[in-house]
Each structure stands twice: as structure tokens, then as C-alpha cells.
Symmetry: C2
Subunit: 396 residues, 2 copies
């Protein structure tokens, strides 16, 4: 497996394009194939997700031909009108591309509870479709079109030993604690795989990647991840190989989202091992990266490691405080702070080692619960003045 | 029922005192009676809580004679040494007051994972005991001694129709999402009630008050609430009357904690009704006041009400987006934003009314889920630059 450039356009036959005017943006990706999706578990489900899920599972029989996605308005909590508007988005793209409407996926991101300006989309869809291309720049244009508070364009692609390619784009920066999905991510492969295999692989991959990041603990109404397999390579890869490649792309994109969390200056990786159950490992790792106190301490480079222990304690995971070990690391620096419940003697210089680590851009927090064999990794970012600033005046 | 001054010293026979030097503080409250307590559900339980719980349930047979509490060090995650130190705190106060050691409760708040300076406590306990008094000032000295990042002294007391008084103090500002308990709160009454009745009343009261506040969603290792009934009034009140008075005091103290959340400028009250179950109402109300996005919007006076809907959506409560109604209020101002899933027409000036409300100090967010009869109220505060500032350099 090697990393390649080009985002979704690293995959043969995938065409993309996008435009952005102020807060409004419109992206289109075109490539037909078998497809699978995962969607937000928020009980308020945005209209475009309702339409896409219906198309994917019933009307389109597990196939997609294109995605149309807008930024600037989430089309969420918009009732029947929202459904009508989301269907209209699918309809106008289907007409432009001359594909069946039920093969079009729709996604939106932006303010919740406002009527979508579907006229704006109608007016601009023609020029976006005209610009569809399969260059790396066109993948980049698509991702830029769906960015909101994101500062970084999130693209990742790999080529497997079998020659199969997998490439994806993602957006997401705030309202990030995905639960079966994240803010928009569109992934493509030229592998030849049926929809049911894609769905299984995607669910497994999302559980290790997008579902393991937290920016602020708010789960969006609009989270969606779609995976389309065009079959253009005519290769049917081993599922294990495909899963590994897919995991690489989704974890890569998920980490980009965590690092680009609103106002973030640092990436936090929480590695939990020794848990009794996989769920224990997952909830403990996520509690660490979700804790506003841990996040603030990382921002302030404050070696306040007791907050990590407190977070693991309230996470719900089964623990025994005499079994826990805690280590902080960054690059080649590593410092053991607690070993089986015993705090390391501070006279050995552990706190100054910890201060060095806290000054780095990527902080790895390793917790060994010491009760079992299960492990999990979660990613998050620090909590900064800029997070507050960005979210104190989002709509105004 | 009427409110009275004096905190714990509003209750006849209760003596209190406290001192504070820099970050270290020491408070003592003396009054013997039947007693009950609730403790953190964090699985990392601080040493003083382990000792107090043991004293209260086994050794002391549901009685307490005094409380000793320090700030500056949580004595949490401190192993066997921590237990020894907490027992020593109980021992030295017991000697000073000439009461059995097992009738002394111990509490601590401050940094986690550092050895307690029990010598400092030994050195100062004498002067604190000497200053014990039953004036309002002495209750105030006790609460000041246990404050950490708190800016406001939290005291509340009432006198019931029956003449019974209930008075309490509390501290708490950060690491606040109590779960059966909150940062330290000590409540006294001169009612004549046995420990089992006190325990039942206290649990019920804590569920409506301290368990319904969120500052940052971090549950402390040191949360403790104690209720002692001296019986000095010789009145055995009706349990319903006592419960009402106790609820008044605990809700009053809980709201003070929420309003005094680290860096907070505003109090947020989330009232949820129409839920199918009481748990649904509780988790929906708490999700609103926990959401960093709602909290940031309140700080920035941003009328971004869609974030409230999103929070209710991911709370886990059963909802139907066509049944939800949403109202914001403050003082006499009230604005209906969503009625049974329908967004109010923005041309009627609802957004400017909402902006007026968002500019107030106390914001009430009312959600009617529209599916049942259950309700709950939760309290929180806004998320500000100062929250980040306070927590970015807590230990340094």
C-alpha cells in the first residue's frame, strides 16, 4: 500500500468540481458504482440524509452515480420543505448529468433551521457540472466548496498492492462527535465490490476512524459518509486488503478533522489498552479527548495529568485505580507518569519531561487499564480561545 | 417557607470556621446528628470520600459530629497514602473536638494525583477549631476556605412553616457534571429526622439539583454532599415539607454553582417538558446545557437556536421532529421559535426578540418534546475565553 495524491480523483473515472461564494458552496462528484453509506445517529436527521438514505437503500438498489453537496445551510430541521428542497437538488443534478434521480446522493452542511436557497443551487449547478474533471485540482475544488469553519482541505488516497485505489475527501471542524458517520465525507474506489461488502467494510472502518474523533462532543444532524466502488479497475481485491486500505484513508481523514478542530492548535491521540471490553477501551479513549479540562490543559501546556485519570474514571469503563498506568508521549519523547496506580516520584524529573511533551504539536496519551486485552484509539484537539470565538458568532 | 441568612449557621447549634492561605484552605463544621451523604460516581474515588463513606455507613451508624475539608489538593488518586492522610485529617479534628473519629467526615478539593500536605492541616487545625462560631460570618469563613476557582460564596438557608431550618454551603466552579453529588456541599438542619429518612430525601433532592447542573461535563473524583440533622429544634417535620425545603436549598446552591462556572458570564436554564420518560427529560435538558456549541452561542449572544435542536436530537431522548416546540425566555421576554416542528416565520421579528433575550444574564431555554408528560430542569453556563484561560494553567 502506498499513499497517492488526488483525493477522490486519485480513483480512475471519478470526476469532481466545486464552487464557493462567501458562505455558500456547491460540490459535485460524478462516478457510478455500487455504494454504501453511514449516517448520523442524531434523531434530528437532516433532509438531504433522509433523501440519500432512501435513494441508496430502496430506489437505487445500492448504487450511486453522483453526489451533490452544499455548504452554508444544513437543510436540517426544515420539515417537508426541506425534503422537497433536497429532492430538488438531486433532480437538478440528475437532469444535468442525464442519470436517474434515485442514483444521486445529497448532502448539506451549515446553519440548522433555515430554509435552503435552492434557487442559488439551481443557478450554479450548470457551471459546476461543466467544470467536472478528474484532476487532483478538481477533487480539491470539491472539498473547498463544502468547507465551513475548516481551515485545511482534507483529502487522502492510497494504492493497494492489487492496484486498487481508494480516495476520499472530508469536511468537518466543529459539532464533531460523530456517531456512525461524520460531517461530509465522500470516498471512492475503483475496486469491483458489491454494495453489501462495501457497507460492511465502511461500517467497520468508520467505527475505527470518524467515530473515534471528538472536537466538541456535539453530534451533527448532517453527518454522512458515502463509499462508491466504480469497478473501473476490474480488480476484485481481497476484502482484508481492501479493508486495510479503506481504514488508512478514513483514519487519515478523521485525524485531519480532529487536528483542524475549530480553534485547535494541537492534535491529541488517546491510546487505551488493557481494557476488559472493546467498548470500555472506546469510551475511555473518547472520554479523554472529549474532556474540556484535558483539552484546556493541552492548550495551556499544563502538565495536569490527573484530569486524564479523572476522565477515565467517569467514562463508564471498568477500572481499578491500582491497575492503571499512564504515559505521555510525543515524537521520541515518552514519560511514564503512573505505573499500576503508583505515581512516579516527581524528583526524577518526570514533570519537566512532561512539560517538554506538552509543548509539542501532537500529544499522545497512553492509558493501560491493566484489566484485559482490548484497545482503542481516539483523536481530538485542544480547547482554545479561538474555539469560543468561532462559535460565539457563527450565524452573525 | 422563607429564606434566611447565615448558610449552615442559620441552623441552631451549627458552628463553622475556616482559613485560607493562597491556594490552601481549611474548613471545619461542627454539629452532631443523624446524617446521610451522596458521593461521586466517578470510578476514581478520592481518599477522603472513601473514609467518609466508611465512617457514615459502618463506623458511625448514620451519625456525624463534624466535617473537615481542605482546598488546594484533592487527595485523589493517591493510593494507600491518601487513605492514611484522610484518616489522619479525621483523627486530628476528632482529638481537637473530643468526638469519636468515626463521626468525622473528610472532604478535599484541588489538584488530583499529588500527596496531601497533612502537616499543614495539623498545624492549622487548632486555630480553625478555636475560631468555631455560629454566626453568619463563620459559615462564610468556612465556604471561603474551600473555594478554588469559585468567585462567589455559595450559601443558602430557609425556615419552614414548622419552624425547622435547613442551611447549606457549597463550592464548585469547574469539573462540574456531578453524578450523585457535586463538589463539596454541606447541609444542616435542626429537624429531628433519622438517617434513613435523610438519605432518601437527600438522594431525591440531589437528583433535582446538583445532578442537573453542568459546567464542563467533567465529573470530579471528589464530589460529596452531606446532610446532617441535629434535632436541635425537637421538631419532626412532615417529610413532604422537609423535602420541599431541602430542594429549595439544594437547587439554590446548584444554580449558584452553575452561574459561577469557570469563566461564566450567564446562567442557562433548560426546561424540558412533554418527554415520554423522566430520564428522557433529564438527558435532553442536560444535553442542552452541556453542549459547547449552545454554550458558546449564549456567550456570543448568537441567536443560533438550531444548536439546541441538534443537542436534543443527539441526547438519546425519544423525539419526533414534527412534535418539538422551542421557546427562549428571560425575565418578561419570551419568544416562540418552533411550534410542533414548524419554524416561526422570521419576518415576524422573532430573531430580533431572540437577540434581546440572548443579551440578558439569565437565559431560559424551553423545549416541549410533545410526546408525553415528563419534565426536568437543568442549569449550566456559557463557555467563554476565561474558561479556557482558567483551565489552561490551573496547576502552574
Amino acid at each position: 500500500m502506498k499513499q497517492v495524491d488526488g483525493g477522490v480523483c486519485a480513483v480512475k473515472g471519478v470526476r469532481a468540481s466545486g464552487i464557493k461564494f462567501g458562505k455558500m458552496g456547491l460540490a459535485v462528484i460524478a462516478a457510478e458504482g455500487s455504494a454504501a453509506g453511514v449516517f448520523t445517529r442524531n434523531k434530528i436527521i437532516a433532509a438531504p440524509l433522509i433523501v440519500t438514505r432512501e435513494n441508496l437503500s430502496n430506489n437505487g438498489n445500492g448504487r450511486l452515480a453522483a453526489v451533490i453537496a452544499n455548504s452554508g445551510n444544513a437543510n436540517a430541521f426544515t420539515g417537508e420543505q426541506g425534503i422537497t428542497d433536497a429532492k430538488k437538488m438531486a433532480h437538478i443534478l440528475a437532469e444535468q448529468l442525464n442519470v436517474p434521480e434515485e442514483l444521486v446522493a445529497v448532502a448539506s452542511t451549515g446553519v440548522i433551521g433555515r430554509k435552503l436557497d435552492v434557487d442559488w443551487i439551481s443557478e450554479h449547478v450548470g457551471e459546476v457540472v461543466e467544470a467536472l474533471d478528474s484532476t487532483p485540482d478538481s477533487s480539491n475544488a470539491a472539498v473547498r466548496a463544502i468547507m465551513t469553519t475548516d481551515l485545511v482541505e482534507k483529502e487522502s488516497a492510497v494504492e493497494l498492492e492489487s492496484g486498487v485505489r481508494i480516495g476520499g475527501i472530508a469536511k468537518g471542524s466543529g459539532m464533531i462527535e460523530p456517531n456512525m458517520g461524520t460531517m461530509l465525507s465522500f470516498i471512492y474506489t475503483d475496486a469491483s465490490l458489491p454494495a453489501d461488502v462495501l457497507e460492511k467494510c465502511l461500517k467497520q472502518s468508520v467505527d475505527k476512524s470518524f467515530n473515534m474523533i471528538v472536537v466538541d462532543g456535539d453530534t451533527s444532524t448532517n453527518d454522512i459518509v458515502l463509499l462508491t466502488a466504480t469497478g473501473a479497475s476490474s480488480v476484485e481485491p481481497q476484502v482484508e486488503e481492501f479493508q486495510m486500505g479503506l481504514d488508512h484513508v478514513t483514519v487519515d481523514l478523521a485525524k485531519m478533522i480532529a487536528r483542524d478542530g475549530e480553534g485547535a492548535t494541537k492534535l491529541i491521540e488517546a491510546q487505551v489498552k488493557g481494557a476488559k471490553t472493546e467498548n470500555d477501551a472506546r469510551i475511555a479513549a473518547k472520554a479523554i479527548v472529549r474532556s474540556p479540562l484535558v483539552k484546556s490543559a493541552v492548550f495551556g501546556k499544563d502538565p495536569n495529568w490527573g484530569r486524564v485519570i479523572a476522565a477515565v474514571g467517569y467514562s463508564g469503563a471498568d477500572i481499578d485505580q491500582d491497575k492503571i498506568s499512564l504515559t505521555f508521549a510525543s515524537g521520541d519523547d515518552i514519560v511514564l507518569l503512573v505505573e499500576c496506580g503508583n505515581i512516579q516520584d516527581s524528583s526524577t524529573g518526570v514533570l519537566s519531561s512532561l512539560e517538554n511533551i506538552m509543548a509539542q504539536d501532537e500529544i499522545i496519551i497512553m492509558v493501560d487499564i491493566g484489566l484485559g486485552e482490548q484497545s482503542a484509539i481516539a483523536w481530538g484537539c485542544d480547547l482554545t480561545y479561538d474555539y469560543v470565538k468561532i462559535n460565539a458568532d457563527y450565524t452573525t
